[in-house]
C-alpha cells in the first residue's frame, strides 16, 4: 500500500480575503511497510497533508495516488480507499457516539456491510490490539470510561476496519506518561507484527527518534527535511530555526562534543548514549 503525492498545492478558504496556502507544492512517496514520523511547528500543514492521504481533502492542484489509484479523479471510490487508509484524528475520543463500546468500535465494519459475527470478530481483535478486553468492555458506554480508555476505544474504532495504512495525528496528546508509552508500544507492534504502514504525526522528538524509520519535517506548507532520524537530527541548527529541537539525549551529546569530548553525535536513545560515553571514556562495564 503505497501513497504518492505529486506537486500537491492546497489552500483553505480559496478566493476569500482569509485565503491561506496550507500546502505549497508537496511531492512525496510513502512505501509499503514504512514507519514514517511527520513533525513540524504548529501550522506547518501536517494535519492538512495527512487528510490528503485518504481523500478527506482534495488538492487545489496536483495528484494523490494510493496504491496507484488517483484520488483526485471524480469517480474514485473513496469509501474503499478509506477502509484501507485508516485515520486517527487528534483527540479521537471526541468523536465517540455509540451506546456501547461494541457499537462504537463496530461502526466502521458495519459501514462496510459485514455480517454481525464478522463485526464482533473485528471488534474483539481491534480491542485486543489496543490492550483492552472485549468481554469486560463490550456492553459499557464509551462515555463512562477513563480518558486513556476512551482514546484506545476510539483508536480501536479505526483498527476495526483492518487498514493497511494507519495515520495517527498526535495519538498521545494529553495522556499521562504510562498511557503514552503503552499506546506507542501498541502502534509499534501493529507495524512490526501486523506489517501495517504507519504515519505518525507528533510533537515529541523523543517518540519519533525511538520509533520511526523515516522522518519528514514540514515547514510553512513544504517538506523541509526528509530522511532517517539520524540524518534529520544531524541538522540541529536548521531544526532550531524552525522552532523545533532534537531529542534531549542528542542535545546532550552535542553539548559534550562542544565541551571537547570526542563523542559521536548521531545518538537518539539513552541506551546508545550510555554505550557511546562508556566507549569514549574507555570505561569497562
Amino acid at each position: 500500500m503505497s501513497i504518492r503525492l505529486e506537486n500537491v498545492i492546497f489552500s483553505y478558504l480559496e478566493d476569500t480575503p482569509l485565503n491561506q496556502a496550507a500546502l505549497r507544492n508537496v511531492s512525496l512517496e510513502i512505501e509499503d511497510g514504512e514507519f514514517v514520523g511527520l513533525i513540524g511547528p504548529t501550522g506547518s500543514g501536517k494535519s492538512t497533508l495527512i487528510q490528503h492521504f485518504n481523500g478527506l481533502l482534495k488538492p487545489s492542484s496536483g495528484k494523490v495516488f494510493v496504491d496507484g489509484v488517483d484520488l483526485t479523479l471524480k469517480d474514485t471510490q473513496l469509501r474503499l480507499i478509506r477502509q484501507k487508509v485508516g485515520m486517527v484524528f487528534q483527540y479521537p475520543e471526541h468523536q465517540l457516539f455509540g451506546e456501547t463500546v461494541l457499537e462504537d468500535v463496530g461502526f466502521g465494519p458495519r459501514n462496510s456491510g459485514l455480517p454481525d459475527e464478522d463485526v464482533v470478530q473485528r471488534v474483539r481483535e481491534a480491542l485486543a490490539h489496543v490492550g483492552l478486553d472485549y468481554e469486560t468492555l463490550k456492553d459499557q458506554s464509551p462515555f463512562e470510561l477513563s480518558g486513556g480508555q476512551k482514546r484506545r476505544v476510539a483508536i480501536a474504532g479505526v483498527l476495526a476496519m483492518r487498514p493497511s495504512v494507519l495515520i495517527l495525528d498526535e495519538p498521545t496528546a494529553g495522556l499521562d506518561p504510562q498511557g503514552r508509552e503503552e499506546i506507542l508500544a501498541e502502534i509499534k507492534q501493529l507495524h512490526d507484527e501486523g506489517g501495517i504502514t504507519v504515519v505518525l504525526v507528533t510533537h515529541s522528538m523523543e517518540d519519533v527518534a525511538r520509533l520511526v524509520d523515516r522522518l519528514i519535517v514540514m515547514e510553512k506548507g513544504s517538506i523541509a527535511l526528509d530522511g532517517t532520524p539520524v540524518e534529520v537530527f544531524a541538522q540541529v541548527e536548521r531544526l532550531k530555526e524552525m522552532g523545533l529541537g532534537v531529542p534531549e539525549i542528542t542535545e546532550l551529546m552535542y553539548e559534550l562534543k562542544s565541551h571537547g569530548l570526542d563523542v559521536n553525535t548521531n545518538i537518539l536513545t539513552v541506551e546508545e548514549a550510555e554505550e557511546e560515553i562508556i566507549r569514549v571514556m574507555g570505561w569497562q562495564e
Binding site: D15, P17, R82, Q83, F89, H94, L96, N111, G157, V158
Partner: protein
C-alpha cells in the same frame, strides 16, 4: 469537505474603513432602520434605492464583493422556496397554467419582492457582523438595552449570551466538519440513502457534537468564573464606547434616507 466555509454570518473581517470605525451602536441602529425600511417599502424603485445605499456602504467598508455575496449561498434554498411558493400560491391574473398550477403576475411580483427583501436583509445584517467585532457588538447591544433594565430586561446577560452564541458558531461548524471527517474515515456516509437512513446517519455526528458542546460550555463557565466574572454588576470596560461626529453624520444620513425612501416609495 468545505461545505461550511461559506457561512459568513458572525464572521468578523478586521479592517480600518469608515464603516469599521463607526460606533457599534450606530451600526446596530442603522441595521434596525434597514430592517424596518425593508418592510415598509412597497415597490421595486424603493428596493433599488435601498440596494444602491447598501452598495455604497459595502464599497466604503472595503470588504471584497465576492466575500459579501458568498454569504448569500446558504440562503439559496429559502430564496428558491419563497419564490416558488409565491409564484404558485397567489391568486390573480394568470400568465400560464400547468395542470392545476397557476402562475400569476401578482405571484411573480410578490415572489420577486420577497426574494429581494430577503437578499437585502441578509446583506445588510451581514455588513454589521462583518465590520464589527463580536466584542464591540455586545458592548453596543448592552448599552442600547440599558434603559430597559428598569423594566427588568437583563441587558448584560442577554448581551453576554449573544456574544457567546456568535463566537461559537464558527467553532461549532469547525467541530462538525472535524467529526464528519472522522466518521467518514470510518466509512460513514452522510449523503446517500432515503430520508430515514440519512437521519440515522446523523447520529454519529450529533451525539459527539452535543457531548462536546456541553463539555465546552462547562469549561467556558469555569474559565469565566476563574477570571472573576460575576455578571454585569459593577463591571467596568477597557474600551468605553464613544459616539463621535462621524457617527452623528452616519446616523443622520441613515435616518434621513430611511424616512425619505420609506415615505415616498
Amino acid at each position: 469537505m468545505r461545505m461550511f466555509r461559506s457561512v459568513t454570518i458572525g464572521q468578523h473581517i478586521p479592517g480600518d474603513s469608515v464603516i469599521h470605525r463607526l460606533d457599534p451602536r450606530t451600526k446596530i441602529l442603522s441595521a434596525m432602520f434597514l430592517i424596518v425600511l425593508l418592510f415598509v417599502v412597497k415597490g421595486f424603485v424603493g428596493y433599488g434605492l435601498v440596494a444602491l445605499g447598501l452598495a455604497l456602504v459595502i464599497r466604503a467598508s472595503r470588504i471584497p464583493w465576492k466575500f459579501v455575496i458568498r454569504g448569500l449561498r446558504p440562503l439559496m434554498v429559502i430564496l428558491v422556496l419563497t419564490l416558488t411558493l409565491h409564484l404558485f400560491m397567489t391568486e390573480g391574473r394568470v400568465i400560464f397554467q400547468v395542470w392545476f398550477l397557476k402562475v400569476t403576475w401578482e405571484g411573480l411580483i410578490r415572489g420577486l419582492m420577497m426574494g429581494t427583501r430577503l437578499v437585502l436583509l441578509i446583506l445588510g445584517t451581514s455588513m454589521l457582523t462583518l465590520t464589527t467585532s463580536p466584542m464591540q457588538l455586545t458592548d453596543g447591544i448592552e448599552t442600547l438595552l440599558k434603559p430597559g433594565k428598569k423594566i427588568g430586561i437583563p441587558a448584560h446577560e442577554l448581551a453576554m449570551m449573544m456574544t457567546i452564541a456568535l463566537r461559537f458558531i464558527p467553532t461549532l461548524l469547525e467541530e462538525t466538519e472535524k467529526i464528519m471527517k472522522a466518521q467518514m474515515a470510518r466509512g460513514a456516509d452522510f449523503q446517500s440513502g432515503g430520508i430515514m437512513q440519512r437521519a440515522r446517519s446523523l447520529i454519529p455526528l450529533l451525539v459527539p457534537l452535543f457531548v462536546n458542546a456541553f463539555r465546552r460550555a462547562d469549561d467556558l463557565a469555569i474559565a469565566m468564573e476563574a477570571r472573576g466574572y460575576r455578571g454585569g454588576e459593577g463591571r467596568t470596560k477597557l474600551k468605553e464606547l464613544k459616539f463621535q461626529r462621524l457617527d452623528a453624520v452616519a446616523l443622520g444620513l441613515v435616518i434621513t434616507f430611511s424616512v425619505l425612501v420609506g415615505a415616498f416609495f
